[in-house]
């Protein structure tokens, strides 16, 4: 065993002054943004029973940090914000359906085993909301708009949100009469934009040329209303048609809010690794970071797994990735020194207290010297440590 006392654990790192200050300020801004939109913040435990995550399609179990309690029950570190919020919402005792929708928000650290060799952080901060007990495109658009506002508010300028619909693919699968295996194969291929596999699968199964064309449109089609129209003329299944209606209504809604310029439809976004999405899904991107910073979607059947039917939509913004992007885009997060240091001659402590408190009331970061520096030493110390101003309290001569 190495002596590890000087090091942080694999996948974990310190957030240093400067960056930390910027991060906490961003968190405050986002917290205020959520509050202004009527979302109530909750804190869920850092540790949950493993059971809440171990439903098929929720999370890959090998990515959970697991441990046991003193009775040997399996526990997991908080993996995301959605599932704990779902557990909470399903268990509300004095539940009154007439008070829905429920608007919940969180800003928390999440814990995931990332791939070891990489540098993917195992601990990262997400800010997110869950709009629970709300159906329809306007609810979807509210959450997407809030995701856009959060990312812009955090300082992201080049933001692109891609919107897709799980049910578009489901409908196309039904229309073409594909079996579960084929559905799964093609879903994976669409997720990795692997047109080669789609073509091969179509050839092997003898899928009609219209069907093949439709499936090949999915990984390729990106735009706005034009994409919706292109699919509209080709799909017949009602769930696909409804999916297109949903996308169109979301675009209309976001357009009215002036957000259309950030948004595009990506027909190939159909859920990916998380299986619980049932409607709209979206991801947000910016320059200089190779992973999406925003992720979200509609999950209408997840709360039901915990015993209560509630249609929900939510998003999370990775603050950790957002900060990485901002740093690489050249945003300064310098470690600022306090504004003032106050020293005092023997016998003048109470006057020094009064002065330093009045400075703090003005909003200045003020240090009261505790080391007994004299005037000259205080001067030298303040210039060396980048403190703009130093004041030495002594008898007037």
């Amino acid at each position: 065993m190495n002596n590890n006392k000087y090091y942080t654990a694999d996948g974990f790192t310190d957030t240093l002054p400067g960056i930390c200050a910027f991060k906490k300020q961003t968190e405050s801004n986002i917290r205020e943004l959520f509050r202004l939109h009527g979302y109530k913040e909750i804190e869920t435990p850092g540790i949950e029973y493993l059971d809440i995550y171990s439903k098929p399609g929720f999370v890959p179990e090998e990515n959970l940090y697991k441990m046991t309690d003193q009775k040997g029950r399996l526990l997991a570190l908080r993996y995301d914000g959605t599932i704990p919020a779902v557990r909470y919402a399903a268990g509300i005792k004095d539940f009154d359906a007439s008070l829905l929708p429920l608007r919940l928000s969180y800003i928390e650290n999440m814990y995931r085993f990332a791939d070891s060799g990489g540098g993917k952080q195992s601990e990262f901060t997400q800010a997110g909301v869950e709009l629970m007990g709300a159906e329809g495109s306007d609810a979807d658009a509210e959450v997407i708009a809030l995701a856009i506002k959060s990312a812009l508010g955090a300082g992201i300028k080049d933001l692109q949100i891609a919107i897709g619909q799980v049910r578009l693919y489901d409908g196309i699968v039904k229309q073409l009469g594909l079996d579960e295996n084929t559905k799964d194969t093609i879903r994976k291929a669409i997720n990795s934009r692997d047109t080669v596999t789609i073509e091969k699968t179509c050839d092997n199964l003898g899928i009609s040329s219209e069907g093949r064309e439709l499936l090949l449109m999915l990984p390729d089609a990106q735009g706005t209303y034009d994409i919706i129209d292109a699919f509209r003329s080709r799909v017949t299944d009602p769930s696909a048609t409804e999916a297109l209606d949903n996308l169109k209504e979301i675009l209309d809604n976001l357009d009215e809010q002036g957000f259309l310029k950030y948004v595009s439809v990506d027909a190939g976004l159909i859920g990916g690794s998380i299986d619980y999405y049932t409607g709209v899904v979206f991801k947000g991107f910016t320059y200089e970071v190779g992973f999406p910073i925003v992720s979200g979607g509609r999950y209408d059947n997840t709360v039901a797994v915990f015993g209560r039917q509630m249609e929900c939509v939510g998003f999370s913004l990775s603050l950790t990735l957002t900060l990485t992007a901002l740093l690489r885009q050249g945003v300064s997060m310098e470690d600022k020194s306090p504004d003032v240091i106050v020293g005092y001659a023997p016998g003048f402590r109470s006057q020094a207290f009064a002065l330093v408190e009045s400075l703090r009331e003005e909003g200045l970061a003020a240090i009261l010297d505790t080391t007994g520096m004299d005037s000259a030493a205080l001067d030298e110390y303040s210039s060396k440590s980048g403190i703009d101003k130093c004041v030495y309290v002594e008898e007037e001569s």
Partner: protein, 212 residues
């Protein structure tokens, strides 16, 4: 500026040839040197020369926008990437190979087989996912054919091109796991943020592949 990660060696040369035919200026990439980053400001291209197994990592993290890498590496690394084109060269097969007397279904009769391979992830997902059986995997780094010959393993999973090495050592292909060729991969964010550069490049690459 697009950053393209190439697998050092034959695959890189072929990829550069294909990009040139597609109308991209690759003078920088052809420079004879030990430089690992070859940049051409005017062409708007930057090439990085990486070990094949690392290409998917560079692309997944967005350090490179695009990568050219063998399907074997993609299957083994299992990275979260867009796989947009099959370049059709670098063709070979990922195979289960072993002593000739294991052919015709006899391999299936060995319970809990030991399998030597450079590709433990591909091996596991093939035997567990397709063949529905548990196996013991022994990771080796080269000359995999040795393992069944001296009794380290019952069979191997490896890349087979001509099959000559196998034959000369009394081994043969028993089953094909996957067809392998060079693929173009793209970072998920780059595909969105730099689509005006990347999409035309993919189209031109596909046109060239169709001519081959």
């Amino acid at each position: 500026m697009l950053t393209i990660a190439l697998s050092k060696g034959r695959l890189a040369e072929k990829a550069i040839g294909l990009l040139e035919n597609a109308g991209y200026d690759c003078t920088a990439a052809k420079e004879e040197s030990r430089k690992l980053i070859l940049e051409d400001e005017n062409a708007g291209l930057r090439f990085i020369m990486a070990k094949p197994a690392d290409v998917p990592t560079y692309v997944e993290y967005g350090a490179a926008d695009i990568g050219v890498v063998g399907k074997d590496t993609l299957l083994e690394e299992g990275r979260d990437l867009y796989e947009v084109a099959d370049l059709g060269f670098g063709k070979c097969r990922m195979c289960v190979a072993g002593p000739v007397d294991l052919k015709d279904g006899k391999l299936d009769l060995i319970p809990n087989k030991r399998i030597a391979t450079k590709y433990p992830n591909i091996t596991r997902s093939y035997f567990e996912g397709v063949k529905k059986e548990s196996v013991e995997i022994i990771k080796l780094n080269g000359s995999i054919e040795l393992a069944p010959l001296i009794g380290l393993a019952d069979c191997i999973v490896d890349i087979v091109e001509s099959g000559r090495t196998l034959k000369e050592n009394g081994l043969d292909v028993i089953e094909t796991v996957a067809d392998i060729s060079a693929r173009v991969v793209v970072n998920r964010v780059s595909m969105k943020m730099k689509s005006s550069e990347i999409k035309p490049m993919i189209e031109k690459i596909k046109e060239q592949v169709a001519l081959l």
